[in-house]
Amino acid sequence: MLRALLSELRYRLRAVFRRGPLERDLDEELRFHLEREAEKLRREGVGEAEAMRRARVALGGVEATKEADRDARGVAAFDALLRDVRYAWRGLRARPGFAAAVVLTLALGIGGTTAVFSAVDAVLLKPLPYPSPGQLVRIYAASVKHRTEEMVSTPVHFLAYRGAAPALQSIAALNTYSETGADIGSGDGVRRIRTLEVSADYFDVLRVHPVLGRAFERAEEHGPNSDMAVGAPVVVLSHRLWEEQFHGDPGAVGRTLSMSGVPFTVVGVMPAGFGDPLTGRGVEAWVPLSLTTGLDMSNIQNHWLSLIGRLRPGATPSEAQAELDVATERLTAPYPDSRDDRTYVVPLKPDVVGSAARALELMLGAVALVLLLACVNVAGLQLVRASERAGEFAVRTALGAGRRRLVRQLLTESFLLAALGAVAGLAVARLGMAALLALGASSVPRLAGLRLDGTVLAFAVAVAVASAVVFGLAPAWRAARTEAAEVLRGTGRAGTGDARSGWLRSALVTSQVALAFVLLAGAGILLASFRAVASMPLGFRSEGTLTFQLHLPEARYDSLARARFWEEFDRRVGAIPGVTAAGGVSWLPATGAYHTWGVEARTGPLAGTRQAWAQADNRIVTPDYFRAAGIGVLEGRPFDASDVMEVPDRVVISEALAKRLFPGADPLGQQVYTGGRTGTVVGVVSDVAVDVEGDLVPYVYHAHAQWAGDRNWPLFDVVSTAGDPEALVPAVRAVLAGMDPLLVMDHPAPLAAVVGRGTAQRRFTLVLLVTFAATALILAVLGIVGVLSYVVRLRSQEFGIRMALGASPAEVLGAVLRHGAVVIGSGIAVGLLGAVALSRVIASMVFHVSPLDPRALVGATVLIGVAGGLAALLPAGRAARVDPRSVLE
């Protein structure tokens, strides 16, 4: 059955689109037949001319045969369709205003939907770019007691997990935690690249293998000397780095690449476009993670390792989680501190997409509303047009056109409009996608993969066809119910002004107003939230502050040299004219949580109780950091030159942590345990936001000089100035060159810009939503104008009579405006209900304001009221100008 249908379809398409060749085929086929027939007759003794004539007669006339054949090929139906389309086209050309309004409405609806759908498709729907991406999971550690945040894991856990969970095919660890990197090149070409430390199974988990050479082996997880951060000195290059450093030479495998002065042997090259799922495409080289158990590695409470895994086909994350929990229990049994440790296994993709998902879902909702509004608008326009054309349809019915034929005609028109709208919509979509990319590429993960592809195209076409059917049916249904005779008799209302269709039209406009209200209110709430967030105090000075990252290569700087370097560097940069202070920090404020470790009060009123524990962000800083970042010292002192490696650890804590761990006691002199070390509190500083939403979290600060031996910390240098921070770059560079010409000043930028990057994602959502709200308002206004114009036209006779009987133009004006007010008022009321219903959806995206912010609701009401009122004035004015004579004649 299906095959017969397919064959039929194929044949018909060929018949329509390859008409010429088919006609020529037919000619040739018939000619052959005639010749053979004539030949046969000649052999029977018939004369040349007579034979040909008889052959033609037998065939029954060549042209008649051809015509019959065309019918058989199904060309006739197509001709009728073509006639319909041509007729519809003429009809649209006759009403350019109507056609333009419909096509524009559809273009906005379809284009907006397509553009945003592309974004949602690129970010949310498209699988991760690895084979069988559904099997990829992320493995977190968390404590049952304090499951406030999912934590990364530890090497101890990782080694215990490897091979312990049958539900996992493979599991890999990667150090996304520290901004690991290396300096490569020499002289002026020296450059800092992002490297990633990964366990040997990393490439197996992702199932992407080097195009050249090999991946890592487990033996390479152990380096020649245990104080190196990485395992064996081997490296897998990104495709780009291979092309840059080795000019794409296949012989690169086996050669060495000097990274921060250490020779690494190149063992493999990854395919182009391969990137790390957690840290993105910035990684240029992979090095083996060192799993040699040293002091730091063996600490079961020092969480710094990210784990990913690949599920066995058919296995679920919860199965893997149950198996890993067993392993965790076995592992932590001897350690009372870790007894509450649990594992959480979650699918990787939602984890990677993260917070952008909500923004995009919200946007998809908004765009669906706009599309709905567009369809409603088009339906309204079509209704008005259908009633205008009631006369035309009545005449055609009277002349014998079947209802089916009329319905077909209307549907053809709708489809033609939808097709035009879809084409215009695709143009809008292209523009929209370019705008989306420009706005969001840097803040929305995976958006860079945005392109107009087949899926999106299919989506747009489906939307176009669906709206064509939706709004094509309403007028068709009306036309089918129109009584021809009644219309032709010209009885008053042209058969369309009945209460029912008036109700339908008003309901359409009411729903438009309601949709526009919801969008406006939503945009208003996000705007209020955005402003509230922007005015949140972050607790530090971001203006007039330069920041850049600096990494000291291990090969030339041991821990003592690193401590000395930073002391000297801060001093020299601080002495640059115009610089107030310069200090280093391991992670900039308001750029997200980092090194969030448990911290325990070992002394004070809570010591020994369950309340003596808190989670805090840890930062390694140089003494002048607090002054450079404008963070106030409330009690005690900041770090100074006396806090060196030789003396017991000292810490500076934030006010929030002091209140939490030492309530009612003097925090100075107390002992806290964090990161595997115990330190004495020497100072309390003011609170600092951990993200751009202004969330204040507890902080523990450690002196770099004391922690330089813990690991090789790349620090962000923070340089404050009274002037333009970027103007400082050359001077700072000169200082750096004076100390070590091989060092790289990585990504210098004003601190305000670095922090502002976090707000970009919300700004992206906001701009889109405001655009949608504005579109919605325009569509609603168009709808109001349309419906009231129609009302005025229908009632112009009534108005004329009223005015003839003494009604003033003002009274007529009032009557139309009242109609408008009812429609707009009920629209706002419905919209208010919608906004309340949707407030829960938007709540997770709104900070520091209520998801039903009264200012936003009032603002939306006023905006729609004013715009709607102005829109109503236009047709109302026309009604007031009705000349009684013209109507009564």
Binding site: A4, S7, D25, E29, F32, H33, E37, T65, D69
Partner: protein, 110 residues
Amino acid sequence: MGQEGLDLPQGTLDLLILKALSLGPMHGWAVSERLHQVSQATLQVPQGSLYPALHRLERRGWVAARWGASENNRRAKFYELTRLGRRQLEAEAENWRQLTAAVALVLRMA
């Protein structure tokens, strides 16, 4: 149409064409000749209906057409039964047998 022989009842032309083609691929003229000969000249195939019928069968996927060289080495369009067409032929032939048997029965009894 037919100067001699019997006119074809409605709908039987398709069946006859399918049957003729069941012997192997042939061009339109050969189909018409074949039907004429096999029916011992009793059936007059309306040649004007032959080509529309062939193209209708092609549209339905029961026969496939391709251009080839005729027996006198001229370009001609050859038709051949598809698997679908073969099944259709069996079904229609069976229908025909039942119909004629029933009609014959009625003619004898009534």
